[in-house]
């Protein structure tokens, strides 16, 4: 359970005050599939970063499974990012000089208990996203869709509870976007919480929950489509 209570994030450079997030109170239960949408600059990435413990709320509280994140040290948050969350980015963010398998292994480097056979675990993840035959390829030798799948395998490799994806299909064509969304939906059906930021209406309307941000505020929560896809629940409080 992810629980945000009156979370705010304000940036001020000089006299300029930018309220990136205001009064966000949100409950996201396990196994939820949530899409976050909103105009550019509305605070989507900021919210996702706070949810993934990359950033701390300016004020308000964020609890993960009942634990207050403000009590955690930076190293404690790093451990949470390693174990509890898996990140997927719009620009894939793969290491260009590492092949697919090595990219997937990276989270093990920072894990407190990596598997005994890291290469095999990474290989399994690549097979799961349909890239079992591309393990030795460098990112530059893979298509955009394939690179994003490597990134998803990397996000999954430590078996996190929550997948956080910031516009994961933003750099892909429609058909490839759909393939990536299908993978995420499948992960959700296997029990993962999936939270994606998206601009695309086509993507959003397939998601069980869609939260809309505007000027840093949560202004709307909808359940457009297949509510049956998700066991979880989202509530704007």
């Amino acid at each position: 359970m992810l629980y945000l209570n009156q979370v705010e994030k304000v940036y001020s450079n000089g006299s300029n005050r930018i309220e990136a997030l205001q009064e966000i109170s949100l409950k996201i239960s396990p196994h939820t599939f949530l899409a976050i949408q909103g105009k550019s600059g509305s605070g989507k990435t900021t919210l996702l970063n706070i949810l993934g413990c990359l950033d701390r709320p300016g004020s308000g509280a964020y609890q993960i499974d009942g634990e207050d994140t403000s009590l955690k040290s930076d190293n404690g948050l790093a451990a949470l990012r390693n174990k509890k969350f898996g990140f997927v980015f719009q620009s894939f963010n793969l290491m260009p000089r590492f092949n697919a398998l090595e990219n997937v292994i990276i989270p093990f480097l920072y894990s407190s208990n990596p598997p005994g056979r890291p290469k095999e675990a990474a290989q399994q993840m690549l097979e799961k996203v349909g890239l079992g035959d591309r393990t030795k390829h460098l990112p530059g030798e893979l298509s955009g869709g394939q690179q994003q799948r490597v990134a998803i395998a990397r996000a999954l490799v430590n078996n996190p509870d929550v997948i956080l994806a910031d516009e994961p299909t933003g750099a892909l064509d429609n058909q490839t976007s759909q393939e990536i969304l299908d993978i995420l939906a499948e992960l959700n059906s296997e029990g993962k919480t999936v939270i994606i930021v998206t601009h695309e209406k086509d993507i959003a309307k397939q998601c069980p929950y869609v939260l809309t941000l505007s000027d840093g505020r949560a202004i709307d929560l909808k359940q457009p489509g297949n509510g049956n896809l998700s066991n979880g629940e989202v509530a704007v409080l």
Binding site: D74, N82, F87, F108, P118
Partner: protein, 405 residues
């Protein structure tokens, strides 16, 4: 797994940016090379000094002369016609200056030496006392040194250097053979071990030693040319040498007395090596510092180019110390590569200097160990700032690729 991936990824990164890596290495490499040269040449010089001290004899003795070394022998008269360094004055020295054990008056001359039909010009002839062999630490190749009886009897005998023995009596036993100096026949009773080139640059193996009285008979000298003085405690050598010098200079106002002791001359002869070592140390130190600074700045630059990567690693769970550790592994690896290259370069440099400047060098484990140690030290010390900077990067900003202070 973690470590090998870290090392391999660092090597990959360094290899992919080989030009930057090369620039990072240059300064440290030169510094280590010069450091290796300093150590190898320093040890060579030290060994050469010890060798020389070994060769010139015990180090509890010093030598005084009335004329500088290299300027003939013979005694000097003062303005009133009195002899300087007379036998009596010299022999009373142990009573005048406490701490002096023995005096070894030596008479020097240079003269042609004949044997059979062969002649050698300008050979050093020394008139020596009984204790000469012991004080000068001389070994005999064959035969014997003068005995007390030999000296008492005034027999015409000589001990010769090996170079003379080889020249005059090749393939023969020189013992019992006759040589001729100043018209007098001398019987060879001993041959010295080889000593090579002496401090003053003369061939110490081309020498004829005769008993004191025989020398007087040959050359009728005016006074002593050289006196070797031994002291009771070698620790006082320099002090007693200075005392003796001023003692005689007070005795003969207006005359200069020259004093020399093996360590002093042996060290002075290595002025070149000492000066070189001084400048090499400065070059080594500044190269290492400059190399370290260059490496630090290039590492900072390469971190700026990898801000997204660092943000990503943090998102994947890297702690600050994982990031700083990665940077330090990188700088340590660069500096070790530079260190190894520097050691190889240092060997070449040392050999070049040794040949060109006629110095001795000794390679041992010291130089490479010190080279690697200093390289690693520089790598770690100058890696700290970039490492801290990388670790402090805010992951949110880093993932957006934004440059931070």
């Amino acid at each position: 797994m973690k470590k090998s991936l870290l090392f391999r990824s660092t090597l990959k990164h360094l290899g992919a940016n080989s030009l930057t890596t090369l620039f990072m290495c240059v300064g440290i490499m030169i510094g280590v090379a010069v450091l290796v040269a300093v150590i190898a040449l320093g040890r060579g010089t030290e060994a050469r000094i010890l060798d020389r001290i070994d060769r010139v004899g015990v180090t509890d003795s010093f030598t005084i002369r009335t004329v500088p070394w290299g300027l003939g022998g013979g005694g000097l008269r003062d303005d009133h016609g009195e002899l300087l360094l007379s036998f009596d004055e010299v022999n009373s020295l142990p009573d005048q200056i406490p701490g002096i054990a023995t005096v070894l008056p030596t008479l020097n001359a240079r003269s042609p030496v004949l044997a059979g039909s062969e002649t050698l010009d300008d050979i050093a002839v020394q008139g020596v006392a009984l204790n000469f062999q012991q004080v000068r630490n001389l070994n005999l190749y064959s035969g014997a040194f003068f005995s007390e009886a030999d000296i008492q009897s005034g027999s015409h005998i000589a001990v010769i250097g090996p170079a003379l023995a080889n020249y005059f009596f090749p393939g023969e036993n020189p013992l019992g053979k006759l040589i001729q100096v100043e018209g007098l026949q001398l019987e060879v009773i001993g041959v010295l071990d080889t000593r090579g080139i002496s401090n003053s640059g003369r061939n110490a193996d081309q020498i004829v030693l005769v008993p004191h009285d025989v020398f007087v008979e040959l050359f009728q000298p005016l006074g002593l040319s050289t006196v070797t003085v031994t002291v009771e405690d070698p620790a006082n050598l320099e002090k007693l040498a200075a005392q003796t010098q001023s003692y005689f200079e007070e005795l003969y106002p207006g005359h200069q007395i020259f004093v020399r002791y093996p360590m002093a001359t042996a060290r002075a002869r290595d002025e070149v090596a000492n000066t070189l070592s001084f400048y090499l140390k400065i070059i080594a130190g500044s190269s290492l510092l400059i190399g370290g600074t260059v490496m630090m700045n290039l590492t900072n630059l390469s971190i700026s180019g990898r801000i997204r990567e660092i943000g990503l690693r943090k998102a994947l769970g890297a702690r600050n110390k994982d990031i700083s550790g990665q940077v330090l592994v990188e700088t340590a690896m660069v500096s070790m590569i530079a260190g190894i290259a520097g050691i190889l370069l240092g060997y070449l440099l040392t050999n070049e200097l040794a040949v060109r400047l006629d110095l001795r060098s000794i390679f041992s484990w010291h130089a490479p160990v010190a080279g690697l140690f200093f390289a690693l030290l520089i790598g770690l010390v100058f890696g700290v700032r970039p490492a801290k900077r990388a670790a402090k990067l805010d992951p949110v900003l880093a993932l957006r690729g934004s440059q931070q202070k």
